[in-house]
Symmetry: none
Subunit: 223 residues, 4 copies
DNA sequence: ACAGACGGGACTGCCCGTTCCT
DNA sequence: AGGAACGGGCAGTCCCGTCTGT
């Protein structure tokens, strides 16, 4: 029917991302990706020269999707700190709470060991995300809504904490249960110098020791 | 001479670990592992029923080797804080500075996504390492050589920082160059509440609470 | 040029037959068959799901080839008894004098012990050959060129004699030497009630007792 | 725990014969043979240097067993034609009606394609059987109990007929059903020139044409 | 004489990326 | 764009034969 579908490459990339996230890259063959997109393997090869290229496209899909949603999220609110909070919430939801996402990024990390293109892609993506957050943090700083000596350090720490949580979730899945969103969010906000949510509460969260490092690591043990 | 080699399983596990660390698990076939150990694939299958089992053996080899070296390291010195420092130094050297080790653990992480046995093995290993360090920290605490409100939290933070560094090294290899040992070590020690090395030095490193966490993230950017 | 070869299955079957005939089925691996046909094992498996299937195809190749040559042979001459003689000559040449053919059929017999499909295939082949010869015999009978009370019995006997010769050739190869063609042929024709070739010759061959059973068995012993 | 069992080689040969007859030579491994004999593979190799040797031993077991039973059978009766009949009956029972025996000999035939020793063994065995029967036939001849112009030819024909029946039984098992013993026996006796069993019966069987070839082939078709 | 762990080699069946023809 | 065909590679299996130990 649609004998000319200009969006087919994107459809294939989306299918690839979806399947890779569910089953891992090595476990998904091109036949499956093609049929998931409604075409055959032969057609897939008209758009992508190799599985590697398809992986790159899946990464690009992931990066672009994340950026688009991030931008859409912050566009909804004008207040700097609200924007930052929304950005954080979205990141937690998509990157941490979504198991498929955790799978995909871990697969990408491992693949980047052997594929320079993947490695470069992620490096660039990570850099742009960092710059994005630094921008949000500085805006909130200028608005005196948060406190931070060194925005870049704070963002770096926050991002590293997210990676740390991702890794821990491998072995302790409960720490990324959907119900943990608030807790995780609070920790990340604390790292970025957010004020305490409840004004009357003791500023424990803001207490230096509390904010030290991957705050998530202090979460009560799971029973 | 070939027959009757009770240590062959260990030899094979060591070969598997060595090759997996160099080239990744999927890139190494059993033929290569066997020939690295001086036997053939047919013989390998007398000892291991599948590649999965061999992977588990390689993990066990890794765990055991790490533990053995850790114990040997701390046995050399009686002073608690020296022991802790030695343990940290060894960990940094073997887990962070050694690229093969970084490759192996990342491969294991990804594999643990699909192999419950691998996942359980690593969970147990990680737990035992944590307990080991907590013990060392408490000993140093009793000796008033370090300060730490919550040893478990400090150790968790330190270990998470190591994982964070490992991940960053994927995309910024220079931060795990051999020359960085001192810097990395200092950061980890700072997290565990070590006193400042040089009394005259600016106490920036000790500015305790701020720097705690993934201190490594504040390292100057690579040019 | 490799792709799109609809005749590849036949080529592979022919290669399989050729190699099986030379070295036996168990002694030939799929790699050898594939490379003999100019492809690789992976390609072979696109056409045949297993070695068993390939054996079946080799049998089919053998059956079809024999039928085709038989039909071509009889089509060349119109005279019924000449047709019968040509058919016999071809059968002797291909089935008895050709060592490869003897090997192949013996292998097939043994394999049919354990493979019902092979067994059924041979049964059908044997049946069709028998019908073919019965038809030729009856035509010659109607032409008063041979004498036979019971064409079916005569054909059965003739075919059984051929099998008997095949078996004896295993242990006394000389009885299937190329030079024996005439002698074997004469015996088979005698069973089918052919008239004596030379009118002046002693009718020894036609003597009942001489014709009893596998006449070939009366051939002088080899020194 | 018989640590000294001089008869172990025979036991192993018997086990080998039994298993080879049931499942074929290629389908039986040495482990199975050894355990069937109550020992392990290591012990088997003390008695036989290779699987080939074991096959040879199984053949020898078969030959010897057949000879022994044949001799025992004829020793029971003094009358020449009775002896011949007993010998025939035993041969039909052991060689034709017993499916295992048919399997074993067919396996041996195929193996003899590639194993000169097996081939020579069978050749010798076959020769000795032929001589044995020729002796019995001549004795009966001297006693005027049968008629035969050429005892050797008659025996050859009879033996070839048995082989022919064996082959046909592959594809038409019913012709070797236990109930067919009488019919098969009658055919073979007819070839050897036995008098008709019932005096009043029409001497059809003795008519030359009827006796031509493997008389068994004239058996009514199976429905 | 026996037991059995072990080594070695070969092979089947399969997967999956890739190419080519239509 | 479709899909038949190809190619390489590898896991898992089988089983023979050997070697140590008893």
């Amino acid at each position: 029917m649609p004998n000319y579908a200009p969006e087919m490459p994107l459809k294939l990339a989306a299918s690839a991302f979806a399947l890779f996230s569910r089953h891992g890259i090595a476990q998904v063959n091109l036949e499956a990706v093609a049929s998931h997109a409604g075409v055959t393997k032969g057609s897939l090869y008209w758009h992508f020269a190799s599985k590697d290229e398809l992986v790159h496209a899946a990464c690009a899909h992931y990066y672009q999707n994340y950026h688009r949603r991030l931008n859409a999220e912050v566009a909804k609110v004008p207040d700097p700190i609200k924007r930052l909070e929304q950005a954080l919430r979205l990141s937690v939801r998509t990157c941490l709470l979504d198991a498929g996402n955790r799978v995909f990024t871990l697969e990408i990390f491992t693949r980047s060991l052997y594929d320079e293109t993947v490695r470069a892609g992620w490096r660039q993506f990570y850099g742009s995300v960092r710059e994005f957050f630094i921008g949000l943090v500085q805006a909130a700083l200028l608005n005196h809504q948060i406190v931070a000596d060194d925005p870049e350090l704070a963002v770096n720490t926050m991002l590293a904490t997210m990676e740390g949580i991702k890794l821990r979730a491998l072995f302790e899945p409960h720490i990324c249960a959907a119900t943990e969103e608030g807790k995780i969010l609070a920790s990340l906000e604390s790292i970025l110098g957010f004020p305490l949510p409840a004004p009357g509460a003791k500023p424990a969260v803001r207490a230096p020791r509390q904010r030290a490092g991957n705050v998530l690591l202090s979460m009560e043990k799971h029973k």
